[in-house]
């Protein structure tokens, strides 16, 4: 027997039915609108002119999200598991700040509340269930996480050394007023961001900076190489999804006829 509850479950938690898809898309639009709203509210000129319109929209959206949150808790089989799951917390954080704003006072308090509301953006990630491409990228990044950590570690060491040398060369002037600031400059330069808020003025400093930048060429190649090698591996060797009916071993290459663990025929 199909109860209202199980029908609602299908609509809210699954995306196979037509109503389920409509629900998903309209929720996405509301999320995007709510993010836009928070952004606009932070622009002083817009806030001044459309104060009441923004306030009302905010409460309408909070209402929709609250209703959705309550419904999810009511429908789901294990409410506790949902509430403390990543998306459960995000869903709660989407509505809480607006209610909190009734209590909190002070300019900075309001700013923090506003920012918290932007955590709604994580709700977009729910869309991930439509794509298996996302999981490929994430798996590639996860597989290369140790290599990337080692690399970032080396970069941090390098940046400390470079920043210190530059601090000595420029002699605490031209913006290089302390070692941390020298390190900030080294990060800005080595990552090729190059704001130009701090830049060397002495000839020796510019010479050293040139060496750092050219060195940065070779360095930027490393993470790219790591991720590319990982993604190439994933995308080239299509592994069979077959599991050996005899010994349950998986990870057979796609052209295997016999199981490479126990020698029985795969079917």
């Amino acid at each position: 027997m199909i109860t209202t509850k199980s029908r609602l479950y299908e609509i809210i938690f699954e995306a196979d039915t037509k109503t389920g898809k409509i629900f998903d898309v309209s929720l996405l639009i509301v999320i995007l609108l709510s993010i836009l709203l928070v952004m606009l509210e932070s622009v002083p000129s817009i806030e001044a002119e459309y104060h009441y319109l923004l306030k009302i929209s905010e409460w309408v959206i909070t209402g929709i999200f609250s209703l959705e949150y309550i419904m999810r808790i009511w429908i789901v089989k294990k409410p506790k598991a949902y509430i403390f799951s990543f998306y459960g917390i995000i869903d709660l954080l989407s509505v809480l700040p607006t209610y909190l704003a009734l209590i909190v006072t002070g300019t900075h308090g309001f700013m923090v509340i506003r920012a918290l509301r932007l955590l709604r953006v994580f709700r977009i990630l729910k869309l991930n269930r439509y794509t298996k491409e996302g999981t490929i990228i994430i798996r590639a990044l996860r597989n290369s996480r140790i290599k990337i950590s080692v690399f970032l570690f080396a970069v941090v060491t390098l940046v400390i050394i470079i920043g210190t040398i530059m601090y000595l060369i420029e002699g605490g002037e031209n913006g290089f007023t302390s070692i941390p600031r020298g390190i900030y400059w080294a990060v800005v330069t080595l990552t090729t961001v190059g704001y130009g808020d701090i830049s060397p003025s002495t000839s020796l400093g510019q010479f050293f900076a040139s060496i750092v930048m050219i060195m940065g060429y070779a360095i930027i190649a490393v993470p790219t190489g790591i991720v590319t090698a990982e993604l190439s591996k994933n995308s080239s060797k299509p592994q069979s999804t077959q599991v050996c009916p005899n010994c349950m071993a998986d990870e057979h290459s796609e052209d295997s006829i016999y199981c490479n663990k126990c020698g029985k025929k795969l079917n």
Copy 2:
């Protein structure tokens, strides 16, 4: 019987004959000249000095393009299909603005007209028919379009979070006057563009910015990895699917005539 029409068809629409090639190259030169003309016209000092020369050149080029457009409609078998095709619309947009300029008045109106004329640049893409390399790149990009979309999606989410945090840290000062502006800064930083029109001034802001930049290292590696993996797959030397009828060896290179394992002729 070869009519003038079919001869003209060969010249204008095909590039196999000598006259066809001459037509293509001279048209390319006219297109490049016309683009240069529009650009120069937008430079105030040049416009002031060579006003009449630029005006005359513009009408000469519009004349040539109009003639070409009319001829294409006259020659082609299915005029309607051509007119509403991508290149048909581009061809029309190449001449229309100049005629429109006779009617339109006002400074901003003129600027828009001038810009519209620059759409002629798309005509250059017709040259694509000479290259199969372009299609390889486009195919690689198309194959990885879902992965890239997922990635850009994640970047947008990240940029909103980073921009908001920075807005909170810098407290609405030093250029970080609103959340959208914080997001603009996050985009400028994460893509390693780094204008420096907005840059953090507080110590905490510079520390956070350093983390974002180093994180950007790992992030920029992802799209490169995606496209590279795709291009590697495409460009890996196409192996012949032939199997030697004598020794059953496979993996012959595509231009092999004899089996490289037993020396028998492949068929």
Copy 3:
């Protein structure tokens, strides 16, 4: 018989036992603290307020490092080999500057001493023994070192030519006051750092700069390509060199026990 010396050896030089791991981690924390300390000391406002606290902490840390250094010399079998090894020198350099500071006077002298203390950061590299990923990256970089050198060589040549041309175009003005400064600009531009402290002002200069930047696109691809190709080679799943004794099939994965073509056992 296990002496105190051999037990200490296990703790200090090895990381297999529980005490050894605790020692490593606590040493890492001290190293990170000592680096943070040196950085903070270089910030004038912090130095002014917490002068005595920083001084005391510095001596405490120097004490710990001195003790560790002496213990290492005492414990190790070949003290000479340790003293003149890379890490031995780094360990000495971690403590020497603080003692030197008692003798050295003058502002610049103090700055150099402070910077020398930062060489402690290299001690972090000792952690490398935990990761085999680091060695993969280093091996890939070492394997491609000649290619990267050739590339950097070409970049230096290019940068000299571009810098000189720009110096001629801008005529020694707008910051391009000499050829070395033109070369500095070329490096900043070609590596896509782009500070903006020197940027072309003439139309011809901006046109030439545009060409250089677009050219930089193709150039930045080269080191990435080199490192990626090297890392892909290393990371491509190591295939077993085994050939099936029954059907002569090869290309088994390294952990195969049975042939995936005929099902016979591999030996």
Copy 4:
């Protein structure tokens, strides 16, 4: 019989003997010194102080280069072939400007002469004969030259469109005074150089710029992908250097036993 001429030939043109290597290295040092000299001469403060020293050094170096050039012509078997070869012209251009400086007058004339002397830097490229790595990189770039051209072509088209849109958005203000300047901005942004000499000030402009930058992410991946794919191909498939003794075909795969063109056995 070994004449002086043939002995000199070995020293100057070959690098196998010990004297040949010494000659090469000392020539390299002189070349590097001569480049440094030209650079220093362009720095006003150094030129003012060391005017005579620089002048004398310049004539000494020109003397050495002149002697080398004359000797090369005298020794080589086909002087004409050498004189009109790439390196022959570079060798001549290394000495000519200094002699020309005796005739030429005027500040800008001197600047051009100085710049011409810097063409000596190309002499460094002679060192290439020591490395086969350089040829691998160059071959990879040459193989991908059509793909890169197509890509650069697309970038130029894109940059024209983006620059024009930005010119319209910012309305000819904030540095976007003409379409070419808008295009210059588009190049600076899309290549992630980001000087910041021109940057959008309107909200719409910053929004559009953000899109362009994020788009630039996907774009920068393309040339990297092209070159990497090419380098991976070159570095993975080791081709046999064998030439078929029967039909002279080459490009056999390394494990070939029989020629894949005529079927004869390779030895």
